[in-house]
Symmetry: C2
């Protein structure tokens, strides 16, 4: 029976699953990334997760594991080199060839958000949808471009949808640029918006939910406040949705895709509130007739998307 | 000897060329489009251009013409139907099948700007460049997306780069939306900027070059005024270049392409002035390290791009 391993390497933990031909996980493994202990330790942690998955099946069946797919935060080249990673000390690191050499199977490495959204695509989609965009709205904003049913990464960094400029001369962004979508509509941006408004004395039920750092949101808090028409909650959700809608409109004009998948923590918790607002704004900006030709879905896999996507990514490559 | 026909259908004229295997034109033909006389007349004009090209070679060699490529302004579906065209009365018109039936050869139809930029790509490029963006800056702004050496059109309308929103709540655009690149950096937008400034009494050498409608530019006028540091000329060129640079930065973050081709009337006449300004702004907005990994070229074919692109488009399809 053919099997594949999917690996999701995060800043704090490494998740792995062994999958069978029915696309269902057979076994799972999890270790700390230990990013602060340096790259040798991190690589060892990765190997431990893979080893644990191999051990889940009899040694005689090890040759049935056909390949390993890996999602990593950061910029990954088409050769499987991690140019850099924001949370893990990879720097021009030949991660793909290192894993390939140790296990003697094909390995495919991709950006974590690219790979996770590819997983959502494979889970949601069918042959109807060949050209698909994924927009991931969490702490940061990322995405994925699927062209002719394959993940498109250009020279490696494609689909950085958080860094579409939606507002010339606009808000400064963590990337160093100005006016990026991420500076308006990520969880971080929404949080900053709320904190700034509360700190200047705006009345809002949200002020009772600040943690010790002064940061609000749990998304559930924001959701409840929005439901009870709290003015600041309504404002921040409208604000983020507007800029997301602008980006979605622009993306439709650029890609005219079959399907648009929205995912990430913000969509999981606030999708039903934000979706109509985003689509209204997207319609203002999409060219006549285009928006209605595009199907919209929200992500289905939650935290499993990374591992599942990594599995689909390698399965697709071999 | 294999031959192909390329056709560029414009609002006022239809250009056609017959090409041989060396990618050189063997014969050319040209007729008025007669768009105002209705679709039956337009189709007849198209047939006249094709007939004239067939007549350029002996009848016994007609079977050596392997296909016809066509560029048309407007939205063209993947099935070769012209959904609509801004200048020609096509409406859900099955142009591809009509030409195929009459000449009994394969026909490929694409958006005129997509096809012309594909022509530039085939002319400039070599096997090194698989993922390429074309940005066409003329009266309007359009473009082309080339993925894995093929033109990507999504459901038909992809690469409408003039309608990337670069400025939320910004200038209104002819498409009905707000903040589109085309509203800032097309020839039309630059012209409007100059007219508005002159009409409120700004001093500029450009005021001596208005035509009877009050419109300035000839690009050469603008070029000369820029060279002599005319403040308004400098201002409008900086203004358009800034927004183009923002869009280029965003496009690099989205596509991380191998090559970026800039073309169109504005680039042909003002490219050497605008290019450094655009790239400076693009660098502000591209994510760290990305801009230097992308090669830039300007278009080489001028008015021939449409016909040459249509030829390459059909040659590529068969």
């Amino acid at each position: 029976m053919n099997r594949w391993i999917g690996l999701d390497i995060g800043g704090t933990k490494i998740l792995g699953s062994l999958y069978g031909e029915d696309d269902k996980p057979i076994a799972q493994s999890k270790k700390k990334t230990k990013a602060k202990e340096g790259i040798v330790v991190v690589l060892d942690q990765i190997f431990k997760v893979i080893d644990a998955l191999y051990k889940e099946i009899p040694e005689i069946e090890h040759s049935e594991i056909l390949g390993i797919g890996v999602g990593v935060p950061g910029l990954i080249t088409t050769d499987g080199i991690v140019k850099f990673s924001p949370n893990i000390p990879f720097k021009d690191f030949e991660l793909q060839s290192k894993i390939e050499k140790k296990y003697n199977v094909p390995v495919s490495i991709g950006n974590d958000v690219n790979v996770a959204m590819f997983g959502e695509y494979k889970f949601i989609s069918n042959a109807l949808y060949k050209n698909v965009l994924g927009l991931f709205i969490g702490t940061g904003i990322g995405g994925a471009i699927i062209i002719d049913s394959q993940l498109y990464i250009g020279q490696g960094a494609a689909a950085e949808f958080g860094h579409i400029v939606v507002n010339a001369d606009g808000a400064f962004c963590g990337c160093g640029a100005q006016g990026c979508l991420e500076a308006y509509a990520s969880k971080t941006a929404m949080q900053r918006y709320i904190e700034t408004q509360l700190s200047k004395g705006r009345l809002s039920s949200l002020k009772d939910f600040r943690d010790t750092d002064g940061a609000v949101i749990k998304s559930s808090t924001l959701q409840n406040a929005y439901a009870s028409n709290d003015p600041l909650a309504v404002e921040v959700i409208q604000y983020a949705s507007k800029y997301l809608g602008i980006a979605i409109g622009s993306l439709i004009n650029m890609f005219h895709p079959d399907l648009f998948i929205l995912g990430g923590g913000i969509i999981e918790s606030l999708g039903s509130e934000m979706m109509p607002l985003m689509l209204k704004e997207a319609e203002r900006h999409a060219m006549p007739g285009l928006l209605t030709s595009v199907k919209f879905e929200t992500s289905k896999l939650g935290d499993d998307a990374g591992v599942y996507g990594a599995f689909q990514f390698i399965k697709n490559h071999i």
